[in-house]
Symmetry: D3
Subunit: 192 residues, 6 copies
Amino acid sequence: MSTKPISRYPVPDLKDLPSDMRERMLAVQEKAGFVPNVFLALAHRPAEWRAFFAYHDALLEKEGGLSKAEREMIVVATSGANQCQYCVVAHGAILRIRAKNPLVADQVAINHHEADITPRQKAMLDFAMKVALESERVDEADFAALKGHGFSDDDIWDIAAITALFALSNRMANFTAMRPNDEFYLMGRVPK
Amino acid sequence: MSTKPISRYPVPDLKDLPSDMRERMLAVQEKAGFVPNVFLALAHRPAEWRAFFAYHDALLEKEGGLSKAEREMIVVATSGANQCQYCVVAHGAILRIRAKNPLVADQVAINHHEADITPRQKAMLDFAMKVALESERVDEADFAALKGHGFSDDDIWDIAAITALFALSNRMANFTAMRPNDEFYLMGRVPK
Amino acid sequence: MSTKPISRYPVPDLKDLPSDMRERMLAVQEKAGFVPNVFLALAHRPAEWRAFFAYHDALLEKEGGLSKAEREMIVVATSGANQCQYCVVAHGAILRIRAKNPLVADQVAINHHEADITPRQKAMLDFAMKVALESERVDEADFAALKGHGFSDDDIWDIAAITALFALSNRMANFTAMRPNDEFYLMGRVPK
Amino acid sequence: MSTKPISRYPVPDLKDLPSDMRERMLAVQEKAGFVPNVFLALAHRPAEWRAFFAYHDALLEKEGGLSKAEREMIVVATSGANQCQYCVVAHGAILRIRAKNPLVADQVAINHHEADITPRQKAMLDFAMKVALESERVDEADFAALKGHGFSDDDIWDIAAITALFALSNRMANFTAMRPNDEFYLMGRVPK
Amino acid sequence: MSTKPISRYPVPDLKDLPSDMRERMLAVQEKAGFVPNVFLALAHRPAEWRAFFAYHDALLEKEGGLSKAEREMIVVATSGANQCQYCVVAHGAILRIRAKNPLVADQVAINHHEADITPRQKAMLDFAMKVALESERVDEADFAALKGHGFSDDDIWDIAAITALFALSNRMANFTAMRPNDEFYLMGRVPK
Amino acid sequence: MSTKPISRYPVPDLKDLPSDMRERMLAVQEKAGFVPNVFLALAHRPAEWRAFFAYHDALLEKEGGLSKAEREMIVVATSGANQCQYCVVAHGAILRIRAKNPLVADQVAINHHEADITPRQKAMLDFAMKVALESERVDEADFAALKGHGFSDDDIWDIAAITALFALSNRMANFTAMRPNDEFYLMGRVPK
């Protein structure tokens, strides 16, 4: 386990946190075996922490036209474009697990055009990259292209909203120099 | 009042919304004289709506080292860089009112280097623009520069977090083609 | 009235100027109620001043396939892309007046794709932005697209030439830190 | 002599032009041996033609803190950045002649950092490139750097204004596909 | 083992290759357990293959002021900037092994500013990124900065030349859609 | 003949070089009348020198679907984009000679869209520029477009590989401040 700082800012002790935050972290720890550093680093600001995870759960834990693996693909691809170390490493791990695919996260993070994904998923990531990097140019042709791949209006909202949430998250992680837990690097790479 | 659509997505009627959302909107309406379209357009997704406004209030309505006008400056400058029509127009109005200055919002939206603001505020906006446009390059020198202008670590978090929240908000507004209320354009321009 | 400097360079007194320049300025003052600062700031160099306004009048005061409001739209959109405070604020005012529309200038300055303008005007501004930002890529397909919207070859010259003139003007205004007159900010916003 | 078109637009015959324009062209022809195509291509619009050459002469034919060769260096460097074939080829020829140096034009057009010019000239071109490519960022530090190399405020105006004029000129030449006269390519390369 | 194509171009059989190429590949296979796809994909052109690996060995297998792990860091960082999937994945594996560090490759590929490397290594990668992305701006100040970290002139050549070789290699891999061997993804991640 | 340094690094004397390198240089000298500086500057590293010229000869001296002039066009266009003074000047000379055209090199270096070349050659250079500047986006549509102009798969490899080799070469020349021989500037400009 690394002893390097996980944020430029002070990180509270679990025991000093409000009970709702602590309980959420303990639940994650029980499931994953460790507390992902984003929970600890953002806990410096409890009100923002609660809003962030409410937003996150509304978009990433949802059932719908996008699979959970596809939701993570969006995170990994756009976080790669924003050079966010925490998000690529941590969500790369989640993507490998959700997609049951040890290769796809590294592929998507570097260049989604060359990843082992479907044409529909490439169209999804093309749009996510446009929202991430030049949202002012989104237009009706983008909607038409996505509908041609079977995405509904609500699926398209999900793609854009996940991208937008990680536009926020990437900037917070980069600005605080948030460090990914060492555990993430290997998760989902070795068949159980 | 414009009858143009305010979003690419369906906009719910106030009467069909959950009561917490409706009450918040009625309170804003009472104060401002109208419901800003961001409340209506984002209401397409109640869970995300609640997270967004919780995040917003935690950062924009706060007292602290940054004045409320300065918080709005950050929104206007970075939304200008992201070419977000809704956010520049709506938050430009709020900035004019909070700063009691009819000129500063247009100046900051176009080029903050030439705005009628203090050197401390220029340093604040230089940092906000870096977080908005190249957060992967934030480093210790940025923190040192801001501290030289008297910003505390928590002020710096506020600058970055407001910028990050509007990285999200700008992308949502651009993607939904969110339309600013006509009322915003004139607010704060004419002395009462 | 602001007492802030209007240029990094000395600004001549009206009474010290050659009579042709003084008369032009007095005529504008009589019509607008004030002398726009561009007349004063550029007067530091009389020969360049005369060339600039001759060029300006040949393109902006002309009748032809483009309305005067459309000519100002080109100025506002490309000056927004060049982050020129003077030109966005001053020509934004003129655009509001010529278009008899209090909203369109702010819309076009931030993101013309989302402005209340016609598809023909969007095509006009798409081309103006290409001339402003990557003129080396203008090709026959651009001419064909514009002709499909009914623009003649001479209209296309007007679009490009207005853009080119403000490529010059934006750089002069940015370099001299030319300050917009306070009066411009409110012009055309309140119905008479 | 090439028979390729010199502009996307009609080019008037010398004999059909107003006498002031024709006389200027004949004078240039007598001196250079040919009429540079910019005179013919821009003659499609006489009023703009007159304004352009008045502006040009006020800045390029002037005596002052910058030599005439240095004025041409600014044109060549910034026209290279704007990928303007006419301006690089035609003004490259003039620069070779005015600098009595057969190498400097190609060097400056490709990468002025590696050209056979003085540190003062490099500082001049660094500033010209900033005005050409990101004029919104010009600030007091730029003026201080130039003054450290002995440039006066009026020299700095000349650097910026020549750059601004060719921001216009490059866009006109690119948009009209203006073709450099074949004669320019060899001018100033062979010692007489 | 993946059965997906490893190149857009035909890939020769080992048995059909000239003996020098086949022997090199068999030697690598004996050491690594598999033949890295770059050997097979580039074998479409034997003369270029020989030149490429001669260049590679001269720079990557060399002893000198840079450790072999540092040489691979340069490859991984600049290949990340060029979005080259093959080079990031394959050289990421080699970097993990040479640095005996399971984390550093992913860190350097995403954002070297936040990697677990020394200030000297950050300076090395800052320079490599400049050579990769804007080599026309390399100047004496870059050499001085590197010498301040103890790099000799020949070390600096190594940094630049490795970067230059992978500018070539990244473009070949991207253009041929070269696929990394599945084996690379896990190499060096699990302690033996 | 210039006495300016031709590289930031020491340049060996011909007499001190291994015989294979010296013989190659003497052969070039006999043919061209001088030793191009790239031979001397890269000789600082004999193993890299041999790999570089082996690579060069395999791609530039080859017969095939691309003429030798077309191969040089690729070098000149992409070296212009990379602002490499040595490569534009030296290969511009070779292009003039191989194309028997005194104008085409300057045209292609500044803006290949406006050069006196065929539509097929423009498509070739469009692709070369994509490989030079954004190789991660090369896709099947690029191959289809080139085949529509009659290029074979092996011709396309040649275009990409020449571009890739000069991605390397441009970076080496820029980093060493490699100086073009004065002789190149005039070569191929004057009819014999």
